[in-house]
Symmetry: C2
Subunit: 206 residues, 2 copies
Amino acid sequence: MMLLQTDSQNPNGELDRTAVDQLFRAARTHSAWLDRPVSDDQLRQLYDLLKWGPTSANSSPGRIVFLRSRAAKERLAPALAPQNVEKTLAAPVTAIVAHDLRFYDELPRLFPHVDARSWFVANEPLVETTAFRNGTLQGAYLILAARALGLDAGPMSGFDNEKVDREFFPDGRWKSNFLVNLGYGDRSGLHARNPRLAFDEAARIL
Amino acid sequence: MMLLQTDSQNPNGELDRTAVDQLFRAARTHSAWLDRPVSDDQLRQLYDLLKWGPTSANSSPGRIVFLRSRAAKERLAPALAPQNVEKTLAAPVTAIVAHDLRFYDELPRLFPHVDARSWFVANEPLVETTAFRNGTLQGAYLILAARALGLDAGPMSGFDNEKVDREFFPDGRWKSNFLVNLGYGDRSGLHARNPRLAFDEAARIL
């Protein structure tokens, strides 16, 4: 990528160490939250970054429901695994990362140069796989966009997707994928970091 | 996130505009590549960033096969959709983003404080969903880690997953998910950017 060189890049176009630490090396999954709110404007900034991440044929199936009010959180609570209730109620915002099974109706606008909508009509397995894969990519973009904006994230799969879908998406068109608590994490609440697989365990160069 | 303030952050802990542009706003999916190689060391740096991205119970099911040699690319070519052949053969590296259906055997080491392995043994639907969801998250981390390192990415779903699995993963344990071409993109090869959904089309605040 060739952009103007600035303080946040080294001569190879890499972001500086502090930026990369904030995104990857020093970032942690948080369960304890500072008493500091997240504004509507921040949630709109978050979406306005994550939306640019790539999806297959620009399909953009990801849908995000930000739960911030006490009432909205209490609709979610019965679907949460017990260990996720307290931290989720305490988080300034909880995002339901979902996907729209009719995402392809937007393709004439999102990917106008070919008839991509026709690839999906009446092909339910392709619709479901594409929505899940690309909605998940957009959920990852949300996590990293949050970190880029100085927020912390606490993603979770420990909840009952069907209960969430019945409560929030009763018409069956959107499906929940995973949850992400958002706010300013209390680093004093962190445990030691779990290890990761070494390169040679998880990757190969051919 | 509270880290030391540096040039790459503004006072709210946000990364500076140039860094955020490089990750999201100015980054593009590339199909045309400059004649500039990607080294083993860069691929190891890439893995050493993406590995830190969060996965459910630190399950880390993603596996990456980096194809760089002509011979490896030619093993991939018969599985590619016609429109993806030329750009993939031309890319310095093509990553097969895959996942390991036996990822849970590593959980005693990756998530040692509970017996997470037992959640997955003999629960094939949970194994498949967890591997696909979290391997996809790791693929998104790969795309954004590449951009953080100054590389460009060209992710693709247009290929025959079963053919790739037969050729590269004949024992059936790893499954291909999507592909990502990596290198230094030729921005003169880019078309105008496709639009994205507006906040109110894809998100809600409750």
